[in-house]
Structure formats: structure tokens, C-alpha cells
Symmetry: D2
Subunit: 282 residues, 4 copies
């Protein structure tokens, strides 16, 4: 059995769907999922097509078949094996609620990823991580060593064939260089409904403003801190009774869920970048 | 400018999308929306394709072009002019909150329908309806006259070219014959989260059970009362403090919104019947 | 039958509840609702007590009984007749969805207010308002006449004994003087989840950021535009498919609901000011 | 420092709050939380009062002071030490998502309970439980041994001073005798929005009906299976695309959250029984 996902973005024009659908039909593929979106502002067309067949076909073979068909459309395109879990490295600091939720949902088979390593600037979660049979690396981050530790993570990703980096409440700011190095494949969770309450202590800011809703935002990492393309936001109603500390405690559930949601969407190749925004097919 | 929507259901097989996409591409149509769903239980395939071109084309002409392409796939298919609002007749009893909300959203251009007439077994909403420039008919429903008044509604729909019947808190039970006559084109709003609390006084039932969520259900009318295919459900959290009367008051917003949502989806040809269920493309 | 609501804020200390409860019990009142909140940051205590008896008692008589009991606690306190609807003046501009929803819910007995007049800088809603039997005043607002028209509104409120001013999508900025004149008794609806997207065109800002949630905020009017104490926020999930115009259309429901919710809370004397925030008892 | 919670239910009459507030004030207690509810149907009055003082006072001493004050009101009352976590025994079967979530939130200090033991009819979760330093007991349940194993649980609760029993997806039906033995102190999580889809395979039932919302219900255990007083329901929107298996996977989050919410409310003594319903102060 073969199961692939094609994603692409290109200028909108007549015949895109026809070209792809005809090629797949001729080769006996069944289209099992198909989502499209045309951005009326930029006239750009985004598509995700999942197709399968009851025979073994290599990814490269499909790529070779599709390339000449897609070429005339000036596409940014990608082809993924839908049956292979996405290999990821996770970074975490002292707070483990997001990591814990990701570990559990992954273990339950609800997120198609394989966590190949966890890196932390604290020792706290070593036991849990190793209990899951995952390698754990503690790093020491200072102004002087920051770039060095980042290089360690990049090397680790290369060594483990990791395709994505998940910041599960990793509280150190990445260098601009690192942000560029993992562009489009690193996901962060911020503990506010961005663009509200950027930066530090968002729950205290929310408390001070007396807002009636709090939330969390999972987004791609960019050099503009807390400004990367939003993948998912989760949120809930609150009222005057909650202290900043209680908002933070409530927010943990939102953070954990938003990140799992975003990682699942990314791992299922449902997220396409559209400038500073995303297209998330559901 | 031409703008059409094709909807269909058929047995799932290879080549459906390719056949349609190729035909549309050859004729210079741009596919602006495309949604598909394959039911894994029944192996049935559902699709909605919206396509447009910058020239005037008659609906019948498109139908003639598509018919031979679609024929081999054993489809139930329909073609709609996306630029024409759906013509509907609305029925209402004493409570006017659902009607009022539908009138307002229609007037604001947010639901692509034209309300051609309102029929009621009460005089209460005549003024509001006529103020909107819509014809209003009061009917008198008794056990003896029920079928007669239903025939009046059917005749009215025929005379006004109405394509759908909306029961906006119309509290009389339709005869089985009437349910069959308007099959697939009549939408009712029930004031509970079906299948909970069928029948009369659902908010009292909800209150007695001490549930923490109430809701409303918009569904197609079938002879099985409160059992028709669900199009939309809206819901909200409640707690012990609300009396049955207060639940009913809160529920009015849910009913009004759920019906508008369902009518919009139906009028945009986003709802396809799948046995006793629906496929609602969003 | 008599039905009163006492609201107050004071420094937190032992014996407040006891003093009030004892006084009310001695006079044969039944406490039907009681809510309290102690702000741990400011050590201020907020309370709302509703009490009733099966005999006619004048508001002033209760006030005279309570005054000496409350005096030692350095309270800001207010006593309200719970059976009298709050008299309000509403201001609106071209968009009528919030006004319409407020009119309908008021007419249905779901908001304990009496709308004594509507003022607008546009003629569009005269018919609807007068159809409800409410006086309508059109004003012409220019830089030169702004203060004059505001004085007209203040005079109107005085003449009609209006206790609150509701800005139901009134798009003119009030002068600082006017904001002070109606301090604590004017409610505005802003079409974003404040403090996100202050100022003009919030839905366009939301669209540009690609947020996954939009909302509306009802707040007390202060001279700091869009910064007044928040009473209520309503919100919903959105995705990449919605244009700025579609977000605005979806947002109308949120705005209409958030304002009705806030006006109901204010009219039921459930909202107490706590610096730049509110305490909203529910 | 002393911190107590008084909860009670009694016939509604004048002077209840005054009697309690005066007694507490005389003894120098500060009321930090106070919630009340009068059921208009049954004329029963429910109250929860939390009070504290900066000195050490024994629970029994407070009980002795309050008893004569409360006695005339025909109360069912309870006094709790708010600083002592509730001791609980948890039962689980093969699915561990609810247990895992409860363990994590408890460890994070977000639920004021101490899990003193976990009992399961499967060995799967022994490692995780023991990793948390909690004793784990595997039982073997057959028709013949059911009552015996229940007695084991009752003995375990007595030996460990456990005050509550949490069924975290324990899939064996308790005997009527056991239901009576743990009346008012056993909480179950059912994987549907009760009273919808009682009994087995609720997600399959939900899928068959094509509902647009799924949920989970935490309720007190009674001999009427899935009919006990509802404490909390959590829910989310779904659509036609989800298979029964996917609904079940989504529902796991709802079950986990609803149970944690209910256990927290119960452990904070916020839940009072009101016949077949609950009063849940928040």
C-alpha cells in the first residue's frame, strides 16, 4: 500500500487541479483527500492532495512522475510519504505540561510524529523522557554559549534525521541565525492570544487588563519574536476572579492543546505558509 | 460573469475529480472552491465544486456539457447558479426570535436567500414581515384543515418558485405526506441538542436532568419527528442557576443562530444528504 | 412586593457580611442573591446583595435603614430597585445589527431596560426605531458641532431620566469632556478582542495577522479610547478562508451578543468598577 | 493559619446568612468565599462559605461552635479543612488518558487531592502509577468475584482514609451495593453528553446520528447506570469527516478535562447534591 501527500502553492490559473487529477487518475491513484484555497488578495493558489494505491510505490518514483506536470505552474511543491511519522526534536525548559501532553498523545497514536530526542536547559524532565525511551540532552545556555548549544541542536537534528523542531515551552530566545536555520520547520507555543500580550509574563498582562478571554498561540518560529505565522490558537473564557497565577494555570491546558493541534497539523502536512500567515487545511 | 456550483454523490472510484477538472479546464472555467468527502463506511463519494468564468453562460448550457461526463459515474448530481439567491418560504408560530434573526441577516446580505413569503398560524408577526416588504399569510390549522393548509403552502411555493421551506419555530407537526412532499428542501429548528430531549418542552427536560450544556438543532424535515438529518447544532454552557424558563430564553439565541447557519449552508449548496446524516462542506 | 439590590466596594475587613445580613434579617428581608469578591491585589471587597419582602417598601426607606450600618465600612455603595427597568439612551451610526439585537431582546423581556430614545448621525434606523414606539433623534456631527450634539444627548438623558448611555456601533469619538460626563454609565462595543486591534479597522488588522480567533468587547467609556474597563468579550474561531469583509460579517453577531450581555449585566447591577477593571457577578 | 469550608443545604428562610455571618464575625473569622443558591422549585437553600483566620484552630473546635447556630435551620451540613488535600482512590481499566491527566494535574498542584492508591483490572498502568510513587493494585473481576473485589476497594479506602473514589474510565459496572456504599463520594466519567448515548459505544452512536457536538460527562455514581447527578460536561464541535474511532480519540481530551474539572470541584467542596441534580458553585 502507498499513501502520499502533495502540497503546493502557485499563482492561481485555470487547469491546475485538472492537470494533477488527470495525472493521478492515469496512474491509478485514488485521491482520498483534497483541499484547496485561493487567496483573493495575492491571487496565490494553495493545495493539498492525498492519494493512495494498493501497491508499493517509491516516493522518488512519484516525484519523477509529477515533476514535469507541476513544472509549468511555477509551484513551490513538496511530496510526503503519509505513512511515515515526522521525526522531531523537542526543546523544553522547567515547565513540562506541554511536553507531557505531546508525549502522551504521541504514545496514544494521535499525533503522527516520532520524538527522536528532547533537549532542555533544565534536568527536570529527564526521567519522564527516558522512561518513554527517548534520548534526553541537557544543555547549559549562557550569552556566550547560546550559539554553540544551538549548533548542538542542529547537529542533533541532522544526526537523527529530524525534520522539525518543537519548542514546548522552551524559554530561551533563539538567535536570528537559528531562526533562519529552522525556518518553516520549527514550531513555538506562546502563552497568549497573539498579537495580544507579546513578550514576557502574558498572563500578568492579561490580568492587568481584566480581559474575559485568555489563550495560547502555536506559530512558526521567525526572527521577529512572537510574530511568526500563526498555526493554531486555543482559548477560553475567564472572569475577574482569577489571579494572574490562576490564569497561568488555566492557560497550561490551552498551551498543551494548541501545540498538539499545531504539531499534528504540521505533521500531516496540512499547514502551508502564506507570507506572514498560514493556510491550515482541516 | 458566470458562477456555478456542482454538487454530487456517487460510488467512490478512480478518476472522478480528473474527469470533472479536465472538462472544466478545457472550457476555461476556474475552480474557485472544491470540497470532497469519501465516506469510509458506505464507500460513497461526495463533492461540491464551484467554478466561474468572465463570460455569460446559461445554466442549461453547462448542464448539457457536464451531463455526458458525469453519466458514467452513477451520480446524483445538481447544478446551481451561485449568483441567484435561493427563494424560500418561511413558516412561524408565536415565537418570532428565529424569524427576526433570519430577516435581519438576509437583509444584511449575509444569507443568500430571498424570502418570498411568510406563513403563520398566528397574526403576531404580520407587521414586521410586511414592513420588510414580504407577503404574509395567516392560516388556521385544525386537525381537519391541516392537510388543506399544507396544500396551501405547497401551492404558494409553486406560485412563488420557492425552492425551500424554512420552519422558524413553526409549532405544528406536519403530516407525513407533507414531509415527503418537501423532502430534502425543508429545514426545521428543534430546541434541543438532538437526539437528546426530543419532543415537547426540551428545556424543561434539560432542566430536570441538570445538564451543563444546552443547544439547538437545525435539521431536514422527515416524517420521523425530530429525527431528520442534522445540518447544524449550536450550544452553550449552562449551570444549576438557570430555571427552565431561563434556559429557554438562552436557547433562543442558539436556535436563531443554528437556523441561520443551516439555511446559509443549504442556500450555498454546501449540504449533501448521506442517508440519515449530512455532509456539510464548510 | 419589594425587591432591591445593594452593591458596594470597600476595604476588606471582618464583619461586613455579618453587619448587612443581620440588618436585613432583623427587618424581615430574604436575601435572594448574594455575590462577593475580595481582590487579593488591592484588598478591596466587592459585594452585590439582592433582597426582597412581601410588602411595599420605598427605596428611600431602605436607604435610611442601611446608611448607618454601612457608614463605618468606608463604602462606595448604591441601592437599586430591582423591579424598575434601567432607562437608557442608545446611540448608533450606519450599522444597525447591534441596535437591532438590543431592540429585539429588550422587546422579548430579556434585558431589563427601557430604551427611551435613540440618537444617530444617520437617518437609516429611524423607521425601525419609531416602529418600536421609541423617539429617534438625528444629529449632525462635525468638528465644530461635536460638543453641541453631545450636550444635546446629555440634555436628552436628563429630560428622559436616562441612567445609562449605550453606544451601539456609534462611530464618532466622544470628547474627553463627554467621557467624563457619562463616566461609569456609558457602555461601548468595540469590534475586536481588546487590547488587540485597537482603533480603526480591527477586522482588517485581524485578517492581516492571520489570527484564529476574532471577538468583540463591551466596555465602559473612558477618555482613553478603547481602554475602558472591559465588561464582556465574545469570540469565535475563524480560519484562513475568511476575508477581512467576512470576518467583519461574522463579527457582527459577536458584537451584538457581547453588547446585549454587557447591558443586561449593567442593568441588573452586576458590574462593579475595580480601577481599570470590572467585577462582573454572574 | 486556619482555613475552613462550610457547606450546607436547608429549607430556605430568613436569617440563615445572618446567623452564620454573625457567628463567624464574632469569632474573628474573615469570610473569603461565599456562594449561595436558592432552588425556586424546591425552596431549598444551598450555601458554601469559606473562612480563615491567622491562628491555628482545630476543625472540631469550629464544629462545636457552629453546631448550635446551625441546628435550628434543619441543615445537612459539613465542615472541611480547606488546607487538607482530599484523599482519593482511583480505578482505571485499559484506557489511561483520564488517569494520566489526573496524575499530571495533581502533580502540578492544580487539583487539591492526594491519590493514595490506584486499582485496575489491567496491569497496563502499573509502571506509570508506581513511577509517581503511588501504590497500584491489580484486581481480577469476574461475575463471581465482583463483590469481593469491591470489598477490597472499600477496605483499601478505609485503610488509606480515602474520602472519595474516582472512576477514571473504569469499565466494569459496579454492583448496586457498591453504588450505595460510596454514595455521594464516587465520581465516574461517561464518554457522552448524558443523557444522550447512554450505555455502550457512545461515540459509535454519536457517529450514526451525525451529531455536530460530542462531549463527556462527569457524574456521581448511582445504582442507575449513567443517571447519577451530573457535575460537569465538556464538549466540542465535530463534523461529518470524523469516523467513530476519530470521535473517540477527540473525546479522550474531553473526558480527561471533564473529570479533572469535576474532581477539583468536588475536592474544593463546591458540589452539593440537589436531588438528582447538583449545585456546583464556581
Amino acid at each position: 500500500h502507498s499513501d502520499f501527500i502533495l502540497t503546493f502553492a502557485c499563482p492561481d490559473r485555470v487547469g491546475i487541479v485538472a492537470a494533477i487529477a488527470s495525472t493521478l487518475a492515469q496512474d491509478g491513484w485514488t485521491i482520498t483527500e483534497s483541499q484547496q484555497y485561493a487567496d483573493p488578495d495575492t491571487r496565490r493558489f494553495f493545495m493539498r492532495v492525498r492519494f493512495s494505491a494498493d501497491r508499493a510505490v517509491a516516493l522518488d518514483e512519484v516525484r519523477t512522475t509529477l515533476a514535469p506536470v507541476l513544472e509549468p505552474f511555477e509551484m513551490d511543491w513538496d511530496l510526503h510519504d503519509a505513512s511515515a511519522p515526522l521525526r522531531v526534536v523537542v526543546m523544553v525548559s522547567k515547565q513540562g505540561h506541554v511536553l507531557n501532553n505531546l508525549l502522551f498523545h504521541t504514545q496514544q497514536g494521535q499525533v503522527p510524529i516520532e520524538i527522536v530526542a528532547v533537549v532542555s536547559n533544565h534536568p527536570d524532565w529527564r526521567d519522564v523522557v527516558e522512561w518513554h525511551g527517548i534520548e534526553f540532552h541537557q544543555i547549559r545556555v549562557t550569552a556566550e554559549t547560546k550559539r554553540e548549544t544551538e549548533q548542538f541542536v542542529l547537529d542533533l537534528m541532522e544526526r537523527t534525521d529530524a525534520e522539525a523542531l518543537i519548542l514546548a515551552r522552551y524559554m530561551q530566545i533563539l538567535t536570528d541565525q537559528m531562526c533562519r536555520d529552522v525556518h518553516g520547520r520549527a514550531i513555538n507555543i506562546h502563552h497568549s492570544l497573539l498579537p495580544s500580550f507579546k513578550g514576557a509574563r502574558p498572563y500578568e498582562q492579561a490580568h492587568r487588563h481584566g480581559v474575559k478571554v485568555i489563550g495560547a498561540t502555536a506559530h512558526y518560529v521567525t526572527a521577529d519574536l512572537d510574530e511568526g505565522p500563526i498555526i493554531e490558537q486555543d482559548f477560553r473564557r475567564v472572569d475577574h476572579r482569577s489571579s494572574a497565577a490562576e490564569l497561568a494555570a488555566m492557560g497550561q491546558d490551552l498551551e498543551a492543546r494548541a501545540l498538539v493541534h499545531a504539531v499534528r497539523a504540521h505533521a500531516e502536512h496540512r499547514v502551508l505558509l502564506n507570507g506572514m500567515k498560514t493556510v491550515v487545511f482541516d
